[in-house]
Symmetry: C2
Subunit: 349 residues, 2 copies
């Protein structure tokens, strides 16, 4: 009989960053759906930095598969509105099979939904899902870039960064990305259409960024923190807006250290003297109210090729821990996904 | 027990172009390798126009899976130099599993070989395999483009066309592509770096092509035939070179009709008066002698991003006949492949 293989967190203290023995491959029976539940086979697993934060906060149930948003196909259903063969957004985690529906644990705003096939189904955990909403909420709703503004986006070739920057371009802003190696920087300018991109690997990052932003910075979309934030800080214009989406550089720090508070403290003299408005983004706050609005705005832009979106798709359950560690190090190129089974919807692009 | 599913040609007369009932899905036991053979699982199936020509010529053994070049992984081996887990180029055809080695039928120049993972394994049926060799032989060896030449490539966004045009760019030529819909034409200029691209869907194709080639045409790489050849013909310069790689527009014509002969007859007045040299390309003639030379030249260009290569990868055995028909109609965007099982080598790009 086919079993359900999945990755769970190993016992013991958590390291700062995931190691080879941080996760354990386990095997169990494929679960049977109860009333109000459906059992689905995972096609794509979304790997995102926040998942490491979940580990550190011990948010997930123990012994269960590591949490992740997934794109799956229904195998058996006792859940209204979901039939075998349907493609769905759900949260099977790092697992080949999973239940959804009644009494199944999930972050409260990650509501299972049926997908149509008019866009790539993998986009449901990306540009047309939580990543698109994160970019839209953090850029358009919280930072309101205007024509002529200089907008800076860190982790510019990553899942959220690439969308956030292109959304600012749609508003007529001049957009400067911060990314890593050369191929990524070229992608950000040549493919995504950012006006410039500087590398955080450059020893002269502060000067490079200043040169790329001769009129200062009006909007900063923060995904990283650390020395990148320090390079941005002196360049803020009066009445600039900053959205803190993530602080990936700090996710490995000791538990209990509040990296957002430390960043606010470091920035305070500049924020107060120049009237910089800083907002923390919690995408869950926007899911119920703005998901449809985001889809109606971003969906057609993606379909028309006006917003490009690069995915970095690895294959096979076995590679998840390695791919996750690479993603946290920035060794991905585009939104990181792992594909666990073939995607029968992949057709003409 | 797991069975081997494969597509075979249905009995009865062959239509001009493949229909829904042209192929039959069959099931058999997974074959057991004899001495000197290995059994492999198919990962990628290459779909190419010549496969329809094979059908029309009834070149393949009956009742066997339809022929195709494949990328596979060895499951069981009694074949020297091939061990379980190895990734290989072979010819499993439209089948989930297949044998290779002693006494297994294959076109004689398609020799199974082991692949390393320093490039994408899917490239072994593409830019670093027969397609790369076709482009290299047809462009560099037979047509010898020189700096300043105007080179025209039809089916410019297809598997061979995209490589052929970029090889001519490497020699300093001005390269004009002919492709179909707008997104493909934009890809040809913006991504592949051709100097211009005209659409064969335009009602004014002859005038469009003339305008894109103000200095006439020195080299023509022919993949299509038909009205595209008719638009090229009047623009040939003295001592131009033409390589006939394929004539996809004619593959649906009645058996026995020699489309190359008809094209030569149509072109004869121009060919003879202007000294145009026409060569037929049969890639098998170059496989033994020039495969390594091609790899040594093209491999580093691909690795360095100087030659781009787009694949159109569909997923699942079931979709092969539909994908094949779409490819013959030009409804692919890049080299057409169908993936039958996960590719564990897919990593950072």
């Amino acid at each position: 009989m086919t079993m359900n293989r999945f990755w769970a967190l190993a016992e013991g203290p958590l390291p700062a960053w995931p190691q080879e023995d941080t996760f354990v491959l386990k095997e169990g029976e494929i679960p049977t759906p109860g009333p109000g539940q459906a059992m689905t086979r995972t096609i794509y697993v979304s790997l995102d930095p926040y998942q490491w934060y979940y580990k550190q906060q011990r948010i997930e149930p123990v012994d269960a598969p590591c949490h992740a948003r997934t794109v799956s196909q229904v195998v058996r259903s006792r859940m209204d509105g979901f039939a075998p063969g349907d493609f769905v957004f759900n949260t099977n985690g790092w697992a080949e099979y999973g239940l959804m529906g009644k009494d199944v644990w999930r972050p409260n705003y990650m509501v299972p939904r049926k997908l149509d096939e008019s866009s790539r189904i993998s986009h449901a955990v990306g540009v047309l899902g939580m990543l698109g909403l994160t970019a839209y909420a953090g850029m358009d709703l919280l930072a309101s870039p205007k024509a002529g503004d200089t907008v800076v986006v860190s982790a510019a070739s990553g899942g959220v960064g690439q969308i956030a920057g292109q959304l600012a371009k749609q508003r007529g802003a001049r957009v400067v990305g911060i990314a890593g190696r050369d191929t990524k920087c070229r992608f950000v300018t040549d493919e995504l259409g950012f006006d410039a991109c500087v590398s955080h690997l450059s020893p002269t990052l502060p000067a490079d960024l200043a040169a790329a932003c001769p009129a200062g910075i009006d909007v900063y979309f923060e995904n990283v923190g650390g020395k990148i934030f320090e390079a941005v800080l002196p360049l803020f214009n009066a009445a600039a807006r900053m959205t803190i989406c993530g602080l990936i550089a700090h996710y490995g720090e000791e538990a209990g250290r509040d990296s957002r508070a430390m960043l606010m403290k470091l920035g305070e003299p500049v924020f107060s003297s120049r009237g910089v408005r800083v907002k923390n983004l919690s995408v869950g706050d926007f899911a119920a109210s703005h998901h449809e609005e985001m889809l109606a705005y971003v969906g057609p832009l993606v379909a028309a090729g006006k917003i490009k979106y690069r995915e970095d798709i690895r294959q096979g359950l076995e590679v998840i821990p390695a791919a996750f560690a690479q993603m946290l190090r920035g060794d991905n190129f585009g939104k990181m996904l792992v594909q666990l089974s073939l995607d029968p919807t992949l057709g003409q692009v």
